[in-house]
Amino acid sequence: MHRWDFASVLANTDALLVGAIGTLHIFAICLVLGLSLGLVVGLGRYARSRWLYWPATAFVEFFRNTPVLVQILWFYFALPILLPFSVSPLEAASLGISLNSAAFSAEIYRGGIQSIERGQWDGARAIGMNWAQAMRRIILPQALKRMMPALTNRAIEIFKMSTLASAVAYVELLQQGKLIASLNFNPIEAYTAVAVIFFVFLWPLVQFTYVLERRLAGDE
């Protein structure tokens, strides 16, 4: 029977704190990049012009059908050989996670925009709005509201995907957990601690999505 001993983990609180900051750092980058690029790609997927539709579709298909971990390793190890600049662990991991999130959130945006009834476009165009004005003022505000639960789920996924950055030794929670485990020979406590920390961050966020879903359901 294993004797649980978290003292060796608590002794490394500083390292875990550094990891937590690293996790939040890459999460913030990927959240902003992933969801905003996703909007651009999603609009491309919605567009009638084939010059917008096909590149956006190719992007979505490519990044939805390749593993994020492979992308991160590719950006870290392969890209610097092809191009004349080095790629840091943070950059490689952010690229992989952001592009993957963009591909998935693009489909959320497209679905949300398509769910707005045609009459809203009619109403907007009838007072002389062009496409961009109608999208910005009438369609997107309504669509975003409907997409909120799905986008929050995306955010939760991004948060968890950040652990993949440890594959290229980016300093985040899992990477620090690995380090603590290998230095103190306490993998059970170290990885349990990492899991608990993630739970503490994510549980409130998930509760928030439930509230959001209920409130939106009540609205419609």
Partner: protein, 246 residues
């Protein structure tokens, strides 16, 4: 003075010819009621006039200028031709006042206080000054349609298109909307009205057009078309509606 001239207008949907060669001149101050069975192309005709639908053939000329197909030109045209829909199409995330201000703010780039004053005036005109802060979800169908009319009026349109404005309303709410349209008629506004309210058409319109199979089958004064129709199809259409109105 002719403000809108339509010639040879044609539109097909999925191989189905909905409009086949409509010619129509609209004179300033005219109030044209467009009648016809469902599927006769009434709504499509209206939607082609402000290019909500792109006509497949024919031209629409506004104040002597033939309208092209560029979006920048169409947005200008749509500001001059107001439209009111059967389903209101109010913006649910904006208050009644917000709905009426929206075109002034976003399209005309009018300063907020001016737009607000103007929108308030239009809401008062349709009798809804006290509902300015309400969201559409908290308005009755008749109130929603009056807000939609105010939204169209705020853009100072030279021509108003009403696409079955009372068809989605409970019977007891029809009167308040027709009342607003009647008051606009009395101001001398130019309008085209697709409607099933034959009595209203008779009393308010200056000309009645009867559409059948995508063409103008018969037209004339309300008295000529509604009381003494010459063509058989007009007669049978009216016979089917007589039990309700006139």
């Amino acid at each position: 003075m002719t403000i809108l001239k339509v010639s040879g207008l044609a539109k097909r949907f999925a191989g189905q010819e909905v409009l086949r060669g409509i010619d129509l001149d609209v004179t300033k101050g005219e109030r044209i009621a467009v009648l016809g069975a469902s599927g006769s192309g009434k709504s499509t005709l209206l939607r082609c006039l402000n290019f909500m639908e792109m006509p497949d053939a024919g031209t629409v000329t506004l104040d002597g200028r033939t309208i092209g197909r560029r979006e920048s030109e169409l947005t200008l045209v749509r500001q001059r031709i107001g439209m009111v829909f059967q389903q209101f199409n109010l913006f649910p995330h904006m208050t009644a006042l917000g709905n009426v201000m929206e075109g002034l703010r976003t399209v005309r780039r009018m300063p907020r206080d001016q737009a607000q004053a103007r929108a308030g005036k239009e809401l008062a005109r349709v009798g809804l000054a006290d509902k300015a802060a309400n969201y559409p979800a908290h308005l009755s169908g008749g109130q929603k349609q009056r807000v939609a009319i105010a939204r169209a009026l705020a853009m100072d349109p030279e021509l108003l298109l009403f696409d079955e404005p009372t068809s989605a309303l409970d019977p007891e709410l029809v009167g308040e909307v027709l009342g607003v349209i009647r008051s606009l008629a009395e101001e001398g506004r130019t309008m085209l009205l697709v409607t099933h309210e034959l009595g209203f058409a008779y009393h308010v319109a200056t000309r009645v057009i009867f559409l059948a199979d995508g063409t103008i089958h018969e037209q004339g004064t309300p008295d000529e078309v509604l009381k003494h129709p010459k063509k058989e199809r007009t007669q049978s259409f009216l016979a089917r509606h007589k039990e309700f109105s006139l």
